[in-house]
């Protein structure tokens, strides 16, 4: 749109050969109307493919998911789901009733998922930050180490997780080989890592292993922007390394940190791949996260309406949390910088 303004501007004002007293007519003569209309449509035309894709891939399924939350969808009407009976808020009532088995499972799972998110994001951030600070100084073998750190991120998630599942196997897994057979920890008993209480911890470890290289990558990029002379000046003034980290590094990477923590939290809260590969279709009770719970309700007991209702609740909660976070934490743009 700014293009057409620039085009017509000088032509209308500047030309000495302007004989015609009607500027509108003159403009029309210098820019043919068809081309002009095309130009004003051009930007819309260019975003159209993206808009169609967005509609097809994101908005459509989302609206569908919301609709499913309000109908009673089971295998009886699966192939003809448009005719499934409308049940209003019944699915939400079932999912949120704290006296029912389903409601209890939902609330305890939400709490567990929150704790899980805090642990995974926290550990990933600390590891990523430590790695980034460590690699921001120049030393031999830095490039090699950087590549090494990124391996978990480069590996397909499924492959990495299944390798962990093998390692955590109680009878023949590498974890028990090392901890019990080599280091003689835990006495004689080989602990289970994928059953009972330990399963939660195992899942945290696998997820942190997968996620921290991303934090590392983002923070390393952010650290590249911190000028070295700031550190030199601080060092001359006698600032300790910790002071430098707190007073220079942290504030300088704040904008990157804001986005990083939000993205990592959203991913972790919605985590499905790690538990699904580690535990199969049903997670142990102690390690059930919200996405696998929705999956179990939808595909285990074929109660798609309930699964849909839980998804909608999850969507709303994440939307509110994100909106709040964006307003309160993220940098507000140009006026703040």
């Amino acid at each position: 749109m700014s293009h057409s303004a620039l085009d017509s501007g000088p032509a209308a004002a500047g030309s000495p050969a302007a004989v015609d007293p009607e500027p509108g007519q003159k403009r029309a003569a210098s820019t043919p109307p068809v081309r002009k209309r095309l130009r004003s449509f051009l930007p819309y035309g260019l975003i159209l493919p993206a808009a169609i894709l967005e509609l097809l891939i994101h908005i459509g399924p989302m609206l569908l998911g919301i609709w499913i939350a309000f109908i009673s969808l089971t295998q009886l009407n699966l192939t003809n789901w448009l005719n499934a009976p409308f049940v209003g808020l019944q699915n939400f009532i079932n999912g949120l009733n704290p006296d029912s088995t389903i409601g209890q499972a939902f609330f305890s799972t939400v709490g567990r998922t929150l704790g899980y998110t805090i642990l995974v994001v926290g550990f990933s951030w600390v590891l990523g930050m430590a790695g980034a600070v460590f690699l921001s100084s120049n030393f031999r073998g830095r490039a090699l180490l950087r590549t090494f750190f990124l391996v978990p991120y480069a590996l397909p998630a499924y492959v990495g997780t299944i390798a962990w599942a093998f390692m955590f196997n109680q009878r023949d897994g590498a974890v028990n080989q090392i901890l019990v057979d080599t280091l003689h920890l835990f006495g004689d008993e080989r602990p289970f890592w994928l059953l009972g209480q330990n399963s939660f911890g195992a899942m945290v470890i696998v997820n942190v292993w997968q996620l921290w290289p991303f934090a590392f990558l983002m923070l390393m990029a952010a650290l590249q922007n911190v000028p070295t002379d700031v550190y030199e000046a601080a060092a001359i003034d006698g600032a300790t390394l910790w002071q430098q980290f707190r007073r220079i590094t942290l504030p300088m990477v704040r904008p990157a940190n804001g986005v990083l923590l939000m993205v990592m939290s959203l991913w972790t809260f919605n985590q499905f791949n790690v538990p699904f590969v580690l535990f199969g279709a049903t997670s142990p009770k102690e390690a059930t996260l919200i996405s696998p719970l929705i999956y179990q309700n939808s595909f285990g007991s074929w109660n798609f309406g309930l699964g849909g209702a839980m998804s909608v609740l999850l969507l709303i909660a994440l939307f509110i949390a994100s909106a709040f976070y964006i307003r309160m934490v993220l940098p507000k743009g140009a006026d703040n910088d």
Binding site: V34, R35, L38, L42, G45, L46, L48, P49, I52, L53, L56, I57, T74, Q75, L76, L78, T79, N80, N94, S100, T101, I102, N169, Q170, R171, D188, F192, L194, L195, G196, Q197, N198, G280, A281, T282, P284, K285, F299, G300, S301, W302, N303, L306
Partner: protein, 442 residues
């Protein structure tokens, strides 16, 4: 300027469409079959996915030779099969022909995604009178047109390691549950002197949801319970059901005749390994012979599943569900004529003999049953269980959910037994939870 813009938008629109379509078609889609190719999803009947495919290949080659129709085969493991079928049903985008566990027949029938076995399809498979009555009865709900045709017949039996039996001085297989537990205790031994057992009396895939649900069914019936009452309401937590499940879970929790490691096993073949390796002496299985043969294992014996009292009959004499694999033609198939041809070929007398021999299962057509290949002691035991001591899993629309819920409850109880203790209250609570979820899903 005009033309490039047109070209650009045309390209963009095409790209958008192509991307959009491919995004929709992702996941469980099968490659678009041409008119002379059909897709077939086979269940894992061998000792691995590759083994199943290899044993199926000669049959499929003969089919192609005879009809000119190529078959694109995918063998799917039991842990994935149910969900894969469900995904195919949901999206309407599945194979032309597929295998289903026969206990899911009614559940899947209700989706309306499969071709009813009538008219052309019924004619092609030679009518229902060719088939064994019990097997045919698993094709769908009573009184409705079935949507699946029996393919392989199976039943549970107890298989044991004869060498370990001899070492423990046990001369004949136990027939009652008490004898079974007593023998299992004798067979649980510390063989390397580290103070912990490394040979166990019994082994099972404690994390296999479907196998667990079969035991919930059988053990419940033996104790005089049922999974559903006459009105169709779930009764997973009734006293006899709790007692039955307790007997099974107690093998690990209190009798200590089952390795805690079994709580992590999700595949039936892993327990067969335990028996072959001498890590365990007894197991309940439907068809381990192909694994025995593949590993050249000869020290095995077969006996009926123990019952609460010797010689029990009727429901209390249940040793197995009417097990087996059925075959369905997908309603959405673009290639129905050829799909029906494959269904007819796989259930023909010759292929029934070839396939059931290869997979150590039972033929489902009477004409093939008399083949010498099926006159062995093992097959006779299986036949006896199927004919005299089996009942079909509840033939109700929500059978699939029942399997998932009861099987998962037992999986979690085994996990609890492996990492701590399990009380009767724990078992009752787990079954009550499953029962509540079942009721909510109805």
């Amino acid at each position: 300027m005009k033309n490039p813009l047109k070209v650009l938008s045309a390209v963009a629109a095409t790209a958008a469409l192509a991307l959009g379509l491919s995004a929709c078609g992702g996941g469980g889609s099968s490659p678009q079959a041409s008119s002379d190719t059909i897709t077939y999803w086979a269940s894992d009947q061998g000792n691995s996915l590759d083994d199943t495919a290899a044993k199926l290949k000669p049959t499929l080659d003969r089919f192609t030779e005879k009809t000119g129709v190529k078959v694109q085969l995918e063998v799917i493991s039991w842990t994935d099969l149910y969900n894969r079928i469900l995904t195919a049903v949901t999206s309407g985008d599945g194979p032309d022909v597929l295998n289903i566990g026969n206990t899911w027949a009614v559940t899947l029938q209700e989706t309306g995604a499969f071709e009813p076995v009538e008219g052309e399809l019924l004619e092609a498979v030679g009518g229902k009178d060719r088939f064994l009555k019990t097997s045919w009865s698993t094709g769908g709900a009573e009184g409705k047109t079935p949507t699946s045709v029996p393919l392989y017949g199976l039943a549970y039996n107890m298989y044991y390691n004869t060498k370990l039996f001899k070492e423990a001085g046990i001369e004949k297989a136990p027939t009652t549950w008490d004898e079974f537990v007593a023998d299992a205790k004798k067979l649980t031994k510390d063989t390397n002197g580290d103070g912990k057992p490394d040979q166990w009396g019994f082994t099972a895939a404690g994390a296999s949801v479907s196998a667990n649900s079969h035991q919930a069914f059988v053990r419940g019936l033996q104790n005089g319970g049922t999974l559903f009452d006459a009105g169709g309401k779930p009764t997973f937590d009734s006293d006899p059901q709790v007692e039955g499940v307790k007997q099974f879970v107690d093998l690990m929790a209190t009798d200590k005749v089952m390795s805690p490691s079994d709580a992590e096993l999700s595949q039936g073949s892993q327990k067969v390994d335990n028996l072959i390796n001498g890590k365990a002496a007894m197991m309940f299985d439907q068809s381990p012979l192909k694994n025995f043969a593949a590993r050249d294992f000869k020290d095995w014996g077969v006996a009926p599943i123990p019952m609460m009292t010797a010689g029990a009959t009727g429901e209390r004499g249940t040793q197995s569900h009417v097990a087996g694999i059925n075959l369905s033609v997908f309603k959405n198939s673009d290639n129905k004529a050829n799909a029906i041809k494959l269904a007819a070929f796989l259930t023909s007398d010759e292929e029934q003999i070839a396939l059931n021999k290869a997979y150590s299962s039972l033929p489902v057509v009477t004409a093939a049953s008399s083949d010498p290949a099926f006159q062995t002691e093992e097959v006779k035991a299986k036949n006896d269980a199927l004919a005299n001591h089996s009942l079909p899993m509840p033939l109700i629309a929500k059978e699939g959910q029942m399997e998932t819920l009861t099987g998962t409850a037992i999986k979690n109880l085994f996990a609890k037994a492996a990492t701590g203790t399990v009380s009767e209250d724990d078992i009752r609570a787990a079954l009550k939870d499953a029962n509540n979820q079942m009721a909510a899903a109805q």
